[in-house]
């Protein structure tokens, strides 16, 4: 392949972009060849999403220049970018929960006659598209609010692929997907590539990058570190350039000292999503919870935390013979249980409020006397956690909505560390987080366990789970399908267990 001009689909020259208090991008150069998959990698807050949004017309650049082919390109909005053949699937979910799947997919261009929607055509077309991305069984007339986060992500991708385009940007599309769904997406990417579509692919999963991309641009602190063909790189080299240091990616948990059982869940059931779930958790232990999307892991954790009410089943805490009464999160926290939710924006954060206020919220009484907050103490304590978790912030008064996804996640974790619970549940704690930060979180988990905390980690990243867990339980269709101890971990066995209930029941399901 030569770099002749007609081979270049898109060019960025010296792009700069600042947000209040942050220089998000400086002097970015990027060349995207026709029909290539170009990876953008970098730590949280490196500026990947910002760059993607500028290309897709969602942000306007401060200075610099963009070209599509040879022509100057200055998108004023998303519509404008799409007219130029540029489409984006964003990192954050942007679906309208009260509309149907089909309506969401075609929201920009609902087929209609005299202003009234042609539902027949709409549903048929949407059916074709969802089938294309492998969601053959999805009911396109269902309301989006009834889908799980993973399925919503797939709908979002389906919507992105619904119209033809020349340049497609995928911003962390696999963050909420399981391996099966990821494979389906990769097949789509291959197909688009064959149709000479150029793709910008943003992901924290280095293995994916090594597999499907042709070249890699690495960003650090809003600057381009390097651009190389993927073939010239190794996973280690990428990580190295991203963080500027070596990372070992091996098993973290060694000779864990397990204490007494602090949590015993017995036959927990809620509807069809959680069925007869029983397990134990010990002090000093990290229990990994694996499973396919929608297998009921989040639901189970919400039951333990009292966020939802169980139909039947009991929870025994700290060796007590009497079932604990946990009817709401307040009682859970009183019982020293914490839940780091998977949906940080909706359930974890107070977006317009400052970093400080977000962290201190879990235990304000500790900072106050006679109901009045000691503000200097508050500042000191939160600054402490910001440092411990190396959250990148411009000031403690910065609203968390201005932080990058990864840093937002760290704030959520910080607020629970501040509460200092005995049993801590992490639901997808590393979703959308860069390797550097991931590693920091692994170390933190390890440290917490060593301090004698009991920890549950729900994750869709099997490698991660195997690296950090002492034990892994696998959920499948609402049941615990299997448990593996540390010396028994294997990807094959765990995956098989995750599918087991679905395979057994295939015939019963519509």
């Amino acid at each position: 392949m030569t770099d002749s001009p007609d081979n270049i689909a898109f060019t960025a020259r010296a792009i700069c972009k600042s947000f209040p208090g942050v220089k998000a991008l400086s002097d970015i150069n990027l060349d995207l060849k026709v029909g290539e998959v170009h990876a953008l990698v970098g730590e949280n807050g490196a500026g990947k999403s910002t760059l993607a949004k500028i290309i897709a017309g969602l942000h306007q650049l401060d200075s610099g220049q963009m070209l599509i082919g040879q022509a100057s390109y200055k998108p004023l909005g998303r519509k404008n970018a799409e007219r130029n053949g540029v489409r984006i699937v964003m990192q954050e979910l942007n679906l309208v929960s009260n509309l149907s799947v089909a309506e969401n997919i075609f929201i920009e261009k609902l087929p209609s006659r005299l202003g009234f929607i042609d539902y027949k055509k709409l549903n048929a077309d949407a059916g074709d598209i969802t089938k294309n991305v492998g969601l053959a069984e999805m009911d396109v007339t269902a309301q989006v609010s009834r889908l799980g986060i993973g399925q919503q992500q797939m709908v979002e991708i389906a919507a992105g692929l619904s119209q033809k385009c020349d340049i497609l940007i995928l911003d962390e599309p696999t963050a909420s997907l399981t391996d099966t769904e990821t494979e389906l997406l990769f097949a789509q990417i291959q197909k688009l590539k064959n149709e000479q579509v150029s793709i910008i692919y943003i992901s924290h999963h280095i293995d994916e990058i090594m597999r499907i991309t042709d070249s890699v641009t690495i960003l650090r602190d809003g600057k381009v570190v390097s651009t190389n063909p993927t073939s010239e790189l190794t996973a280690e080299k990428i990580v190295n350039k991203m963080v500027g240091r070596e990372l070992e990616h091996n098993k973290l948990r060694h000779n864990a000292k397990l204490g007494e059982v602090v949590l015993r869940v017995e036959k927990l059931t809620r509807g069809k999503k959680v069925r007869n779930v029983s397990f134990e958790l010990r002090r000093g232990e990290i229990l990994g919870l694996a499973g396919l999307i929608g297998s009921g892991r989040t639901e189970t954790m919400r039951l333990i935390f009292g966020a939802d009410k169980a139909d039947t089943g009991d929870i025994y805490l700290y060796g007590s013979k009497v079932p604990a009464k946990i009817n709401n999160p307040r009682q859970a926290v009183k019982n020293r249980i914490a839940l780091v939710t998977e949906d940080r924006k909706e359930q974890g954060l107070l977006l317009p409020l400052s970093v400080t206020k977000n962290i201190s919220i879990t235990n304000l009484p500790r900072l106050s006397r006679f109901g009045w907050i000691n503000q200097s103490k508050e500042k000191a304590i939160t600054a402490d956690y910001v440092e411990k978790l190396s959250v990148r912030i411009a000031s403690p008064h910065q609203p968390v909505e201005n932080l990058s996804g990864g840093n937002q996640q760290k704030v959520v974790i910080a607020k629970w560390l501040y509460r200092d619970c005995e049993i801590i549940i992490f639901d997808e704690p590393t979703r959308g987080i860069d390797v550097g930060a991931k590693f920091e979180i692994y170390q933190m988990l390890d440290e917490l366990a060593n301090q004698g905390k009991a920890i549950i980690v729900v994750s869709s990243d099997l490698k991660e789970l195997m690296a950090i867990s002492d034990r892994i339980a696998v959920m499948s269709d609402g049941k615990i399908a299997a448990e593996f101890s540390s010396d028994n971990f294997s990807e094959e066995k765990i995956t098989a267990a995750a599918f087991s209930e679905y395979v057994n029941q295939k015939k019963e399901r519509p």
Binding site: G77, K79, M90, N94, N98, I107, L110, F116, I117
Partner: protein, 318 residues
Amino acid sequence: MKKGVSLPRWVTDYLGMAIVLAILLAIFGYSARNFFSLPTFKMIASQVPDITILAVGMTLVLIIGGIDLSVGSVMALCGAMLGKSLITWGVPLPLAIGICMLTGLLCGAVNGLVTITWKLPAFIVTLGMLEIARGATFFVTGYRTVDTATSLDFITETTIAGVPMPFVIAILIVALGQLVLSRSVFGRYMVAIGTNEEAVRLSGIDMRPIKVTVFALCGFLAGVAAVIQTARISSANPNVGVGWELQAIAAVVIGGTSLMGGRGSVIGSFFGVLIIAVLSTGLDQIGAEEYIKRIITGAAIVAAVILDYYRNRLSAAK
């Protein structure tokens, strides 16, 4: 065929309200004189059209996450324009009706434009319009009631298949509103905007024209309501419609529309209007003391939404 399970959604959606209505009818049928009679129903049919039409407009505005507190004042202004142009300025009838509706449309459009241009809460913008439109009404009428004599009688007196025209018009507007909401591109965008404005914006849809249209439509409907209201009392009263905005909102919310936007039903609003109308007619007919009327009306509004809560739980549990 098991009944409880197979009822279609639109039945269960309105079942709760139908029950409330039935209960009210039963109570008043028992306690009020001549309540179950043709005149009563004729009377209700002659009195609900204007507030129904206002409620339709309010439903649409609430669905996009807005609110319109100015409908009562705007209706008064439209009525004033109608009466004045017809009687004082000698404008021919069709043109006068046109002026009336145009006035509503303009007020609504101003509400919408101001709201979106400066990204202001509709609550405060339309609160401003409430005052402004009332002031304009006073200005136009010189604070005096305009007697429209018999010039609008044809509206109340024409019947279609025995049903008075205002009621037919109201029903048509309800039906059309529901159809637009659930079946048209415009209606789906309205729901989408009310549900997740940011997602709609990021989809590259320009929602400003949609929002302005909805506010304008609400104003226009206030104009339509004004024609019917003026015809009903054969005069344009500058003080009419005070507090109707809250009455319309109460009806709409009883009908199951969310004040947070994104969810609502025009047919539900119609039920809400009927519930309030039957309640107030019944109380008038038994000649209840004013203070009892107030307390019962207030309690009924709250009771209706509480009932709706249980109906929702019931249908969710299924």
